[in-house]
């Protein structure tokens, strides 16, 4: 196929050619960046929590009256005992929060007490001796908390825990040589905290972008929160009995003590719901970007069909002449396919520049990452295929123009 005559013909349709190329360029820029955003958002959705998700649920319990620390401790113990009696419940832990939870508690971590800029930032969990077991965390080194290590923390008490269990991600950050067990660190505390155990994975409480560089860095302290207003219970159901346990647990609590509130909206959640809510924004963004991509590609494809059809209509006589001079169906088909390929190539060339331009802008404004080249390559392939697909129908119609057209007036 000779390219020279196609280029000569295109020069006579400058405006149309430029418009299609421009449209392809803009589409490439938007689709590549949108696909990248989708991928980044979806990768959040698969972040590991480290907990036994299918069997867990949480109860956010608010007391109906303000309790002193001693009263709160007593009520928590009664609650835990009541929950353990519920058929289908395997374990219960009184906690401050859970992975992907509604609020966040995190502390700066330093290696020395007087260190001014922190080594890292850890999500701060408080839990009793049942925490690791209830959440189903995998202890890969050291030991679990002993019951006699648990301290009760009332309103604004400042309690410095002596020991902590930390996640592997945090252990690796503090002691990259893998010898964290038995060593110490400071979590905005005046005295050191000794690492007595390491769990494989425990996600942070938050899923915000500011903490992305501290992903998976969490610590558990042997503290039982006994605040005047309430606390959260994490409950682990026996396999396959989540629904029954979730149904029965609040009833058992109310039967035991009526003076409490469990919010109907978000007081009782299965862990699946917790995860769903935490990543709602990410999922929404991925859906929106997905819709934009699909519709944009459809419109660009339709635009190419429309403009090429017009060109075919305009050139019926020339096509007829070529056919009369011996050009085959296949020659005509190839002519239009090649023409589109040339325009598309021009479009993607401009598009690659626009893509990286848009990406750089998004990087500076929205802390998006730099676009990997694979996305651009994928985008180019998609758009070239789209162009070829869109041009096929009008090109086939062109190839069926009979030679007799040569004799008809335009």
């Amino acid at each position: 196929m000779q390219i020279q005559p196609i280029l000569a013909a295109l020069r006579r349709h400058k405006a149309g050619t430029i418009l299609i190329a421009l449209q392809i360029a803009l589409t490439l820029a938007i689709v590549c960046n949108a696909l990248f955003i989708i991928n980044q958002r979806l990768s959040h959705l698969s972040e590991q929590s480290g907990v036994d998700e299918p069997n867990l649920f949480v109860i956010r319990n608010m007391w109906g009256e303000q309790y002193s620390t001693q009263q709160a401790v007593q009520h928590i113990e009664e609650d835990v005992a009541a929950l353990r009696q519920v058929p289908g419940v395997q374990d219960v832990s009184a906690v401050n929060n859970y992975p992907f939870g509604p609020s966040t508690w995190d502390n700066f971590i330093t290696m020395k007490p007087d260190q001014l800029s922190p080594t890292t930032d850890a999500s701060f969990y408080t839990g009793d001796e049942n925490f690791v077991r209830t959440l189903g965390l995998k202890l890969i080194a050291g030991r679990d908390f002993r019951a006699d290590e648990i301290q009760d923390k009332g309103l604004r008490d400042s309690i410095v825990p002596a020991v902590a269990i930390i996640s592997k991600a945090m252990a690796d950050k503090l002691y990259p040589n893998g010898d964290a067990l038995g060593k110490t660190f400071y979590a905005m505390t005046s005295s050191p905290i000794t690492i007595v155990g390491i769990v494989d994975v425990l996600h942070r409480q938050d899923v915000s972008s500011w903490s992305a560089s501290y992903l998976g860095e969490s610590m558990i302290t042997p503290i039982r929160i006994a605040m005047p207003w309430g606390l959260t219970y994490v409950v682990r159901a026996k396999p396959g009995q989540l629904e029954e346990a979730m149904h029965a647990a609040p009833k058992a609590l109310f039967a035991e003590n009526r003076m409490r509130m469990i919010d109907p909206k978000d007081g009782l959640l299965s862990f699946a719901e917790v995860r769903h809510r935490a990543f709602e924004k990410d999922r929404g963004m991925a859906i929106l970007m997905g819709i934009i991509c699909v519709v944009l590609l459809a419109i660009t494809g339709a635009g190419i069909v429309g403009l090429t059809s017009f060109w075919v209509g305009q050139r019926r006589r020339q096509i007829g002449v070529r056919r009369a001079l011996g050009a085959t169906h296949r020659d005509i088909l190839h002519y239009f396919m090649t023409e589109n390929l040339l325009i598309s190539l021009g479009g993607v060339a401009i598009g690659v520049l626009l893509t990286f331009g848009l990406n750089l802008w998004l990087v500076t404004r929205f802390t998006l990452n730099l676009l990997p080249v694979t996305y651009v390559l994928a985008g180019i392939v998609i758009l070239l295929l789209l162009g070829q697909g869109a041009v096929l129908a009008p090109a086939l119609r062109a190839s069926r123009v009979p030679p007799i057209e040569a004799t008809r007036p335009a």
Binding site: G16, Q23, D114, I299
Partner: protein, 441 residues
């Protein structure tokens, strides 16, 4: 002229009918592009609105550097709240026309009627100036006064919604409510009032929550040891003294401060005062760094706190890009459509039609595509508004709704976009050389 326009519109309809597929394609492209832009714009407008337009230039949020430069690793901001110590010092000095310290509270409301279950309420601790500063409207009663601040009075202002729930909407001023284990006398019932974004709490929340149920005196909340329901950020490893008083004396920041400064002289004076306060703390040995005070007006504060979620900006931006592609598409299709009729234009021009008339005729045709695109866009915007909840926070989704303004804007946007897109194709049509066209026939 008028009859000519009608004639051109008739011609346009006929021409558009001749290529229904092309016409539908153009109308759909315009409609989809406009709808995507309008939906995301409605969300953007809702979250970036000025919550108090007539007062925003006089309301300021001060900040001082309480932790020193060493805390800020790489160009981070200074803490966006006050320690109790500094907030109280600034409140005592009363250097602004009005001022209030604020922090969010959660309480359990125990209904007087024992047969009703206790329920959870959220509100704020604030000073008497809160109400006149933020122009809070009341249905019954009003705020409390400065003397009651000083007297640590157990008074409360409740929302109309809570008033409805507890008293069936009747005037409840003088009656009392029980929050946890304290009784509060109601002094005022607010009218429906929920400025969004909730500028005075954006350092604690997203800023688009339901209205607060109650507001009570800051001094009273501190007296009853009511913990903050918002952020509490601390720095350093020195630890702190135990208990509530230890926390009040600590370097933890959890109090918001707002001041009203009526003119630029007052603003400058307050800036100097803040700087002077920092210098004084430095001399006193409390801050070991040069004073660093900042003063944001309401709109600057909303920007500083990044109230508009990045998702909102990003989706508006990509939707506009999307509209641009739709327009380029329309330019191409209109060009094809108009130039196909080059012969017809040539005949008309040869018969004496001016370029101006060709312009009118073709822009009229494009305008019809625009209007049809606008109608499709309107329908799709309606669908978009219903599905905002899929993409954005439910709180934000609830704020966006179809308004007359938005309907007008959608139609206008579609019309203007299409006519702009039609300029180049029409220019080409008007410059068709009659002689050349006639010769080729």
């Amino acid at each position: 002229m008028e009859s000519m326009l009608a004639y051109y519109l008739r011609l346009g309809v006929r021409s558009l009918r001749r290529n229904p597929v092309l016409t539908v394609l153009m109308v759909l492209a315009i409609g989809v592009g406009v709808a995507a832009s309008m939906t995301t714009y409605a969300v953007f407008r809702a979250v970036s609105a000025n919550p108090l337009p007539d007062k925003s230039a006089q309301l300021f949020a001060p900040l001082i550097d309480v932790w020193g430069p060493q805390e800020r690793g790489n160009g981070d901001d200074i803490p966006d709240a006050f320690t109790y110590t500094d907030a109280m010092a600034l409140m005592r000095d009363r250097k602004a026309a009005r001022q209030t310290a604020i922090y969010p509270l959660n309480h359990t409301l125990i209904p007087a009627d024992v047969s009703r279950e206790p329920f959870y309420v959220t509100g704020y601790a604030a000073y008497a100036d809160f109400f006149p500063m933020f122009e809070t409207p009341f249905v019954y009663g009003g705020g409390w006064n400065r003397e009651q601040d000083d007297a640590r009075a157990a008074v409360v202002v409740i929302s109309s919604q809570l008033n409805q729930q507890l008293f069936g909407g009747a005037n409840s001023v003088g009656r009392s409510v029980r929050l946890d284990d304290h009784d509060y006398r109601i002094v005022g019932v607010m009218a429906d009032w929920n400025p969004r974004p909730r500028f005075y709490d954006v350092n604690n929340s997203g800023g688009f929550n339901d209205p607060p149920d109650f507001i009570l005196p800051f001094t009273q909340a501190v007296d009853t040891h009511t913990d903050t329901a918002g952020n509490n950020n601390c720095y350093g490893s020195a630890g702190r003294d135990p208990g509530w008083d230890g926390w009040l004396r600590s370097n933890c920041v959890w109090v918001s401060l707002w001041v009203e400064l009526p003119d630029s002289a007052a603003v400058q004076a307050y800036r100097d005062y803040l700087q002077g306060y920092g210098a004084e703390q430095n001399r006193a040995g409390r801050f070991h760094w040069p004073p660093n005070a900042q003063l944001f007006d309401l709109t600057q504060w909303l920007q500083h706190e990044k109230v508009v979620p990045p998702e909102t900006r990003m989706s508006l931006l990509l939707s506009l890009g999307f509209l641009l592609v739709c327009l380029v598409n329309t330019v191409g299709l209109l060009l094809a459509k108009f130039m196909r009729r080059a012969g017809e234009i040539g005949v008309r021009r040869a018969l004496g039609a001016s370029r101006r008339e060709i312009w009118t005729q073709y822009l009229a045709e494009a305008a019809m595509v625009g209007v049809a695109g606008g109608v499709v866009g309107l329908l799709l915007t309606g669908v978009g508004m219903l599905s905002i909840g899929l993409v954005f926070d439910p709180e934000i989704a609830r704020m966006t709704h179809m308004s007359v303004g938005l309907i007008g804007l959608t139609l206008l946007c579609a019309l203007v976009a299409t006519v702009v897109a039609a300029f180049y194709p029409t220019w080409r049509a008007a410059h068709v050389q009659p002689a050349w066209q006639l010769k080729s026939q």
